[in-house]
């Protein structure tokens, strides 16, 4: 039998390859580490944060990570979830402060906020400090962090939070702002370099732990702003040492730290470790009745954070995230709409037997959403405050069937309501129905209005350019809307573009009609009504370019009015004004459902604030 010279080499190569494969197979199911640490793997439903620098943060995904590492003056109370919220005092508690701020109104309209910092807050240990030991937090740090928002280096991304609020801050910002060339000044001189030492009248230091902030007027929003992650306190040494890589190398005061830069693999995951020098912060003992019944006070009094390590995994395609939850690889999950029926009985919105038998926990979190289809009020055909054009918009509003949308795309779990103010804020109409609502579907009335506007059965009305983003089921929703409007003869020309193009089209006022949403930054209706303030026109948040002087006057009133029945009355007035003008078709607020495995404890998610990872705990049955 003749030997095959080639075959023998092939054989040995093959054998070698098989051997290698077997070796790798044998090595692969090696457990990662069994250090005895308590940890949980949690999902973040995006590619991850873009930057961990609070001054540059903008999305909720940035928020989710930044607030574990950095801290703000106030935080939301974890277990206090009242049915309605009026003032920030209802739900906030001091975090970096020793006590709630004392607010006093001056005779000249200004408002003075007296703050007292805690004495035991230290920054994380980091090489930017001498000896590598974290320094104690002081008043100067608060002023420094807030002044950063006015630094042109960060492109004023978050300056709007403090705009027109603190005495002298706007002037401070202008001093260092680049002046644009204009007719009278074709070559303006460059601005002086930003100087953090320059004084701001409204920042008055009393001592290293006590200070006062003077507001130009009694801006209600300020109480909420000081809990927002963009106003977190950063260390000057860190900013000076790391410059624009601070986004990868955060140095905060919070319960978790990013131990090494390599712990963050962009697009993959991020590992946060417990801050070994965290001061004594205890699990809350205050809870509203429902939360008490759920046994959430079991860990009251324990030192935070309860976990040694949290691993945040970034998921872009949802199916993959869902599968990982099924495989017990992540401890909790936001239920994407497509999988709702796998875990819940759609009719009753309760867990299926299979899931509840396995001890899976479910929580419904109502979001402060305002999902709408907006109109460009400056559009020659559709926009305008005259009868004819308003009637077209009313007809469109009456033809859209939001209930069908809710049923088909959101499993009926959303709240459909009138107006721009979501539940449970002041100004939310009773049962979602406002007295002058134009919510559909009422095709008869829609056809009447359209005929009255001069376009019987839509004849003569050109196609409407309708911009939406390309998201998961947006395409299908758009097609449903096209179908709904075709019933009264209105033709939509859908332009499904990605999010950045959508913003671009809206900002350039090219979009006649657009599908969009607004999530309230804080639970005050003023945030939603700001969307109709004429000063916020494109590229600001007033995407409709709505402009009514009466509305503006009322808006300027409520931003400084103390919450109460008088303010609520004005808010309702503004709401009805907006509903009558129909600058949008709306609205819907999503209810997000969360599932968690039974081994995750103290599970009470919220999307108003994200720094609740420190309260989570796992029991012995958790994967190690």
């Amino acid at each position: 039998m003749m030997r095959r010279p080639r075959s023998s080499t092939t054989c040995s190569l093959l054998a070698g390859a098989v051997g290698l494969l077997v070796a790798m197979l044998a090595l692969s199911p090696v457990a990662a580490q069994s250090t005895g640490e308590k940890f949980a793997r949690l999902p973040i439903r995006s590619d991850g944060p873009k930057s961990l620098d609070p001054a540059k943060g903008s999305t909720s995904y940035d928020n989710q990570v930044v607030c574990q590492i950095y801290e703000t003056l106030l935080q939301y109370k974890y277990l206090v979830r009242p049915d309605s919220v009026t003032s920030y005092e209802d739900v906030s508690e001091p975090l970096l402060l020793a006590e709630m701020p004392k607010v006093s109104d001056e005779a000249d309209g200004k408002q003075v906020w007296k703050f007292k910092l805690r004495d035991d807050v230290f920054f994380h240990d980091d090489a930017c400090f001498p000896g590598g030991k974290g320094r104690k937090l002081a008043t100067d740090d608060v002023f420094y962090s807030w002044k950063r928002l006015a630094d042109p280096k960060y492109e004023y991304e978050n300056y709007w939070l403090l705009q027109d609020t603190i005495l002298g801050l706007d002037e401070f910002k202008e001093k260092f702002a680049t002046r644009q060339p204009s007719k009278s000044e074709p070559n303006p001189p460059p601005p002086p370099p930003f100087d953090y030492a320059a004084p701001v009248e409204g920042f008055r230091k009393v001592s290293d732990t006590e200070f006062e902030v003077i507001l130009k007027k009694s801006v209600v929003r300020f109480g909420w702003v000081i809990s927002m992650f963009q106003t977190s306190i950063v260390a000057r040494e860190a900013v000076e040492k790391y410059g624009d890589t601070l986004g990868k190398h955060p140095v905060g005061t919070g319960p978790f730290i990013l131990k090494n830069e390599s712990d963050w693999k962009p697009g993959q995951n991020m590992i946060l470790h417990r801050n070994p020098n965290y001061r004594t912060e205890l699990y809350p003992s205050e809870a509203t009745p429902k939360e008490q019944e759920q046994g959430l006070l079991a860990s009251a009094g324990q030192k935070l954070p309860l976990l040694d390590r949290i691993e945040l995994t970034f998921y872009t395609p949802d199916p993959v995230m869902w599968q990982d939850f099924q495989d017990r690889k992540i401890a909790l999950v936001q239920v994407p709409a497509e999988y709702f029926e796998k875990a819940f009985v759609k009719r009753t919105k309760r867990l299926t037997k299979e899931y509840s038998d396995n001890g899976i926990q479910a929580e419904a979190v109502p979001l402060l959403d305002f999902i709408f289809r907006g109109f460009n009020m400056e559009d020659p055909i559709l926009g305008g405050y005259d009868e004819k054009r308003t009637k077209i918009r009313q007809a469109i509003s009456l033809a859209v069937d939001l209930d069908e949308h809710n049923d088909t795309f959101y499993n009926g779990i959303n709240v459909v309501y009138d107006g721009p103010i979501p539940p449970p804020l002041d100004g939310f109409p009773k049962n979602g129905k406002a007295p002058n609502s134009f919510r559909g579907p009422n095709l008869r009335k829609a056809r009447e209005l359209l005929a009255e506007a001069g376009y019987p059965e839509g004849r003569g009305l050109p196609e409407i350019e309708y911009y939406t983003s390309k998201g998961s089921n947006q395409a299908e929703q758009t097609q449903a809307e096209i179908r709904q409007l075709a019933r009264i003869g209105i033709r939509l020309n859908p332009k499904m573009v990605d999010f950045s193009e959508l913003i671009e089209a809206i900002n350039q006022k090219k979009a006649q009609m657009f599908g969009f949403a607004w999530g309230s930054d804080y639970p005050d209706p003023e945030n939603n009504l700001a969307l109709f303030y004429s000063r916020n026109k494109a590229p600001g948040a007033n995407h409709y370019n709505y402009d009514r002087p009466e509305f503006d006057k009322l808006y300027e009133q409520i931003i400084v009015m103390k919450p109460g029945p008088e303010r609520t009355r004005i808010i309702e007035q503004m709401r009805d004004m907006v509903i009558a003008d129909v600058p949008f078709v709306g609205s819907m607020a999503r209810t997000r459902f969360y599932l968690a495995h039974p081994f995750l404890k103290n599970f009470k998610p919220s999307e108003d604030f994200y720094n609740w990872f420190k309260y989570l705990d796992v029991d012995a049955s958790a994967p190690r």
């Binding site: 995994t313 395609p317 590229p539």
Partner: protein, 351 residues
């Protein structure tokens, strides 16, 4: 031969410049600034962002300044409305200069990506290459091996049942879209299979560095890549081998009484290696781009995912650098292939 190489290189320069020009021009047809504006943007923020992105400069040294969107740079000379701007202060030339210096961001002189504001473009590309290679190289090796084998066997037993069966299987693999394989692969190859086996053999997504994690994260994409890609190669090799079987030397070998397997595996293979090698060489630059779809669905942080994310998020620095590096690689590899081909086959003359 060196004159040929020099000529080709010289010839490639306008090609390369053309690629960069077309690519940068196409990107700038749409305005990317809106994508990076936050929630309550002001006109001020938009202008500052534009300046920090380097988009406030003219694209080419010749331009017409739009009063609504001022360049902020003085033209050297103005002829009517057309201005001539200092080349180095334009976006196109500046980028070319960067390519020349091969400087895509260092600690002292950063060149930041727009999505990842703390990272240099060069660093991000370097990080992304290795995961991609971990998939494409094994896929290439496996595909080539199996395809050659299939091609050989099909050609040797041409017309037989074996040939027909193999070709049917191969065409089957080619006729089903890769996306179907990916979707089904994730469901069946991972979740279902793991359930049956009781432990996790293939992960349905994700990536961890290290050779011990290769099977878990990379094996499944490799398998899918092989199934899909093998078809084209197998048919090509089969055709090559078929051509070989009609040659005189094969007839001679048969006449001399050489056993069949020796003819196949020794003679035919050796002589058919030239087109095989050429074909493999052509696919080498593609090793680096990886498969965008595969990396996206499997969440593997390779070059493909980096690129698709950059395109979706309008991250110009990454797209530009990616294309510049890759195009350069393509051109060089093309020249190399031609040279190698000429060296190996004396019948081929370099034109």
């Amino acid at each position: 031969m060196w004159s040929y190489v020099a000529r080709r290189l010289l010839y490639s320069i306008p090609v390369y410049l053309g690629i960069i020009l077309i690519m940068m021009g196409a990107l700038r047809l749409r305005d990317p600034v809106s994508a990076y504006l936050g929630k309550n943007a002001t006109a001020e923020t938009a202008l500052l962002k534009k300046a920090s992105m380097g988009l406030d400069r003219p694209f080419l040294p010749i331009g017409i300044e739009d009063p609504a969107e001022p360049f902020g740079i003085e033209p050297i000379v103005e002829v009517g409305r057309v201005g001539f701007y200092p080349p180095l202060r334009t976006q196109y030339v500046e980028f070319l200069w960067r390519i020349l210096r091969f400087d895509f961001g260092t600690a002292e002189r950063p060149y930041r990506s727009w999505q990842f504001e703390s990272d240099n473009v060069g660093a991000k590309l370097a990080d992304a290459v290795w995961p991609t290679l971990k998939i494409t190289i094994p896929a290439l090796v496996l595909t080539a091996t199996i395809a050659i084998l299939v091609g050989l066997l099909s050609a040797a037993y041409r017309g037989s049942v074996l040939d027909k069966t193999l070709m049917v299987l191969v065409v089957l693999g080619m006729s089903i879209s890769v996306v179907v394989f990916i979707v089904l692969g994730q469901v069946f190859g991972s979740s279902w299979l793991n359930g049956k086996l009781g432990f996790e053999l293939f992960a349905s997504n994700g990536y961890e560095p290290g050779i011990q994690n290769w099977v878990k994260y990379c094996a499944l994409p490799v398998i899918i890549g092989v199934v899909v890609g093998m078809g084209y190669d197998a048919r090509f090799y089969r055709a090559v081998m078929v051509e070989e079987t009609s040659r005189d030397y094969i007839t001679t070998a048969v006449a001399k009484g050489a056993p069949r397997h020796k003819i196949i595996f020794v003679h035919m293979l050796k002589n058919a290696m030239i087109p095989v090698i050429t074909r493999i060489m052509i696919t080498i630059p593609f090793l680096i781009t990886g498969s965008i779809v595969m990396e996206y669905q499997f969440r593997i942080p390779g070059m493909g995912k980096l690129l698709i994310d950059a395109i979706v998020n309008k991250d110009f620095p990454i797209i530009q650098t990616f294309t510049a590096v890759l195009a350069g690689l393509f051109i060089l590899t093309n020249i190399l292939t031609d040279v190698l081909y000429a060296l190996v086959d004396p019948r081929v003359r370099l034109a």
